[in-house]
Amino acid sequence: MSQAQEDEAYVLHSRPWRETSLLLEVITANHGRLGLVARGARRGKGQAGVLQAFHFLQLRWSPRGELHTLIGAEEIEPLRLPASILPAALYLNELLLNLLARHDECGPVYSIYHHALRRLQAAAALEPVLRDFELDLLDALGFGLTLDKECLDGAAVDPGLWYLYQPRQGLIKIPETVENAMLGHICLAIAARDWSDSATRRAAKRLLRRVLDVHLGQRALRTRELLRGLARMQQRKDRASVEDHGSEASSPQ
């Protein structure tokens, strides 16, 4: 039998498996994304409470084939996200589950994810965390976006001109605005991760959605749908509240 391995990890997803077990998808610091079976975890004093999504754990497993067997799990530090943040945090997990295959080496992705969860826990504004995560994740997977130079001749982006981002290629200067076009100063703000302007945040959300959809192929993200539903309810709430200050009601994903 192969030797047990150990690493720190986050649970991305946990689902019931057979009568009393759990099937876990985890992302580890040094072993990439793994599938683990936690035998008997749903029995009486099992570890189902610990083996929940977003829990930061020290895991031990015995490697075998596609699905490894979990031997031990201990919580390193409790990380509790408020219920209102969970849908957005699940969006991060769904992206990782769709863009990383089991056993993939995923280099810096673990620390990018770790960092994003810490920011969510610290109640940082949602949109910048999600946009930074998407940009960092694309970078780490080798699909990084260049938004300060044109893709054809490497010319610096002019803040006052119109550009179009072509997924898998890059920025192209265009004579006039078309659908999905962005002004140069917006491209530069996204490249600099300056999220102070709401126009930049909106453009970045649209842009990243387009780029991610290319890599996700036909797979529609179900967390987007959930976030949209919640955003609609929030919008309704805002409208109903007396101190309505015309806030933009769009989902953060």
Binding site: K45, G49, R236, K237
Partner: protein, 198 residues
């Protein structure tokens, strides 16, 4: 032993049950055919009837043979108190253990986008419709405290907001007979946060 095509089909069909793999399926098939042909016919007949006649209650989505289930059509039940549960087993447990006298709404699952279960799959629009009808004053969320359970509870409480319904959730903490030192940190943290005057 040689497996005839029909036997093979039976084993394959038995595997549709959760937790039944090829070995259990052949064990069940051999048992039914060798020892209990009579019961096997009975099982087949009941299964057919159940599939044909059991639908969902129009009001609470629980399994029912009639358009309205026995709880929803019981006039002695309080109609302003609604308990939201995940499945029929939880409904039975609640009804039995605490003699709950209100009505129920059975979600038949939890919001779990990563498993492809969204608001639509859980018929959230039906629950929203019940809230909109205006009779419900309090809604008790009896939903498991997992990540998916938290998301579900959050979604429902947001949905209830415009209707001015009081939303409560079952308390979480130390189980009866539970020993503190063997509790996981999440449960203990929650029990501490939700401590109350004694």
């Amino acid at each position: 032993m040689s497996i005839t095509p029909l036997l093979e089909q039976l084993i394959e069909a038995l595997r549709c049950q959760p937790g039944v793999g090829p070995r259990s399926a052949s064990r069940i098939a051999f048992h039914l055919l060798e020892r209990d042909r009579h019961k096997a016919l009975h099982l087949a007949e009941i299964l057919r009837q159940a599939v044909e006649r059991l639908g969902h209650c129009e009001q609470c989505r629980n399994f029912s043979e009639t358009p309205l289930c026995s709880i929803c059509s019981d006039p002695r039940r309080q109609s302003d108190l609604l308990c939201v549960v995940e499945n029929p087993a939880q409904l039975a447990a609640m009804d039995h253990a605490i003699h709950f006298r209100g009505r129920y709404h059975v979600l038949m699952g939890r919001l779990s986008p990563l498993d492809g279960i969204g608001p639509e799959e859980l018929g959230m629009d039906r629950l929203e419709q019940r809230l909109r009808e205006g009779e419900i004053k309090e809604m008790v969320l009896a939903i498991s405290p997992s990540v998916e359970g938290e998301v579900t509870a959050h979604y429902i409480s947001e949905m209830a907001h415009p209707f001015g319904v009081r939303v409560t959730r079952l308390a979480q903490g130390v189980p009866m007979g539970g020993e503190l030192e063997s509790l996981d940190s999440g449960t203990l943290t929650r029990a501490f946060e939700l401590r109350r005057e004694y």
